[in-house]
């Protein structure tokens, strides 16, 4: 198509100078373009496509054969860990969305001293590794943590919950907040204030304005950042690893199957299933909201 256009332009301006200046001269030849692609292609093919395909087929070599893929549904322990991981990730996502929608909207709509410091603080843990987030939870709710100290002073008993599911929840929330808040703020900046003013001048109450104008406007941003948050929580490993909890979240189960039990086919099958869930979740949302450029918020964890 582009070559066609180039030819046409070339024909309509047949002078020597303009033929010298045709876009054709500026277009890189296919050979050059493929040279440019080579390093990236090699990396993706050799270190991603081939290994993933090998893992997917490796599963078939196990004692259970292809049925290993079904283990996650038929084996009580794996199914339970899958459900627990799904519930945990969904809970964290909802919580993060509610908190960040309120705070993000507030930070976009108001200008006051110290505002940028607050934004900076909230987005700070964006690329903290999961282990550090786990340690932050210990600092907050561990045996020597702030919360324990406060409750000890107030009620005479230490509240310690870093090492059970509440601790894990807090940790996941910790690394979800920066991701969600960035996305919420980005979509809140695009909201049309005039729509709200119109609604208000027509007599809508504050509650109605929030439900009928603000929330629908924020929705695409909330859905896409929610998906990112959910997928990150599904795959997060470092936080659970640091807290050394007995809670079987899927990544921990994969890890123990692989290292302690040397059960490679099962670990591989669970990884493939987990990978499919997270990828499908992100892909579905992207095709739904039509935005996918903002992977910056995916970051570490």
């Amino acid at each position: 198509m582009s070559i066609d256009l180039d030819l046409k332009e070339g024909r309509s301006r047949p002078s020597l100078l303009s033929s010298f200046m045709t876009p054709r001269a500026a277009a890189a030849s296919p050979a050059i373009l493929s040279i440019l692609l080579i390093p990236g292609l090699v990396i993706v093919a050799a270190f991603f496509l081939i290994p993933i395909a090998r893992v997917a087929f490796e599963v078939g070599n196990g004692p259970e054969g292809w049925a290993t893929y079904l283990l996650i549904l038929t084996n009580g322990r794996y199914l339970e860990s899958l459900i627990q991981t799904l519930a945990m990730s969904a809970g964290v996502t909802v919580m993060a969305l509610i908190l960040c929608a309120i705070v993000g909207l507030f930070l976009v709509r108001n200008r006051f001293a110290g505002r940028s410091i607050l934004i900076g603080t909230l987005t700070l843990p964006l690329s903290f590794p999961g282990t550090v987030v786990g340690f932050m939870v210990i600092m907050l709710a561990g045996r020597q943590g702030v919360i324990g100290g406060l409750t000890d002073a107030a009620f005479g008993s230490k509240l310690v919950f870093a090492y059970d599911i509440a601790g894990l929840f807090i940790g996941y929330l910790y690394f979800s907040i920066p991701r969600v808040i960035l996305a919420v703020m980005a979509s809140a900046e695009k909201l049309d204030v005039q729509l709200e003013e119109a609604a208000r001048s027509l007599g809508a109450s504050r509650f109605r304005v929030i439900c009928d104008v603000i929330l629908p406007g924020l929705m695409p941003g909330l859905i896409s950042s929610g998906a990112i948050c959910f997928a990150t929580a599904m795959g997060a490993f470092g936080t659970a690893f640091t807290l050394a909890t007995d809670i079987d979240v899927l990544p921990m189960v994969i890890y123990t199957e692989f290292t302690r039990n040397a059960n490679i086919p099962v670990a591989a099958a669970l990884s493939i299933v987990l990978g499919l869930i997270t990828w499908a979740c992100l892909a579905a949302v992207r095709s739904f909201t039509g935005e996918g450029k903002n992977i910056a918020v995916r970051g570490g964890a």
Binding site: V103, M136, S271
Partner: protein, 271 residues
């Protein structure tokens, strides 16, 4: 502007959320320089733990920095040309390739590491070297570089710039290095910061790929949390913060500069 009760309620929640983020950071920084955490700050301040961490983990810290630089190098060489092709030749094949490229970010690091281990774990020289970890880091960070550079490239009028340069007789490579790359610099810089920060902090993949001789900073952190005193874990976290904070702040400044024009127009509309 009138401040209502709702303003203060929202401000309160925001501050609460900030405290939730900041308090553990401050706590861990303080614990890292306290003589005895169990007695609290009254036991005095010391740099002893920092030195101990340095003795124990300096090699891990240097390996991480080295890996980040190597990772940056590879993602620059592979990512900038890739971004150029993706922007210059939009189409179905390009979109498919972009999707494929971004996939390693969408699936959990643990699964990626497992795939690499099963496929290349048997290659002994490679498995035991830092290059094995580098592979994982490149896979994970490359999409960030490509997206960041592609975003800037599609915002600038590359076609006109290239035509201009071509009309002056510049061949492709000359255009690429003297016109395209310099113009894409903001994107390259943002991508570079992102790649380095992510590489220094990467744990999910690295934990699976590392060997006792190739421990990175986050692997050392996990090790310190599991087996060392609380003070040593804290001091090590403090060192990590000192390394990573400047990168995070630089990233924020860059992002702010990028969105400034958009923001000023938004406030102008407000008035």
């Amino acid at each position: 502007m009138r401040r209502t009760g709702i303003f203060y309620a929202q401000l309160g929640l925001t501050i609460l959320l900030c405290l939730f983020i900041v308090i553990p950071i401050v706590m861990s920084a303080l614990a890292g320089v306290t003589v005895n955490v169990f007695q609290g700050l009254s036991s005095g301040l010391t740099l002893r733990w920092i030195f101990e961490v340095w003795d124990l983990y300096a090699s891990s810290i240097f390996l991480s920095l080295w890996l980040a630089v190597a990772c940056l190098f590879v993602t620059l060489i592979a990512g900038v040309p890739l971004a150029y092709v993706l922007v210059r030749k939009p189409g179905r094949a390009t979109r498919l390739f972009e999707e494929l490229l971004t996939l390693p970010v969408a699936i959990p690091g643990l699964a990626l590491a497992l795939a690499l281990l099963i496929t290349y774990g048997g290659v002994s020289g490679y498995r035991s070297s830092w290059l094995f970890i580098l592979t994982g880091h490149v896979l994970f960070t490359l999409p960030f570089m490509v997206r960041s550079v592609a975003a800037v490239m599609s915002a600038m009028d590359m076609k006109t710039l290239e035509e201009g340069a071509a009309s002056l007789g510049a061949g492709f490579w000359r255009r690429f290095f003297t016109v395209i790359v310099p113009n894409a610099k903001p994107g390259i810089l943002a991508g570079a910061l992102m790649v380095v920060t992510l590489s220094v902090g990467e744990f999910n993949l690295t934990w699976m790929l590392h060997t006792p001789l190739t421990k990175t900073l986050p692997v050392g952190l996990a090790d310190a949390y599991a087996s060392m005193r609380l003070e040593i874990g804290s001091a090590y976290t403090l060192i990590f913060f000192v390394l990573i904070m400047p990168l995070l702040i630089a990233m924020q400044i860059l992002a702010n500069r990028g969105s400034k024009p958009a923001r000023t127009t938004a406030t102008a509309e407000d008035k």
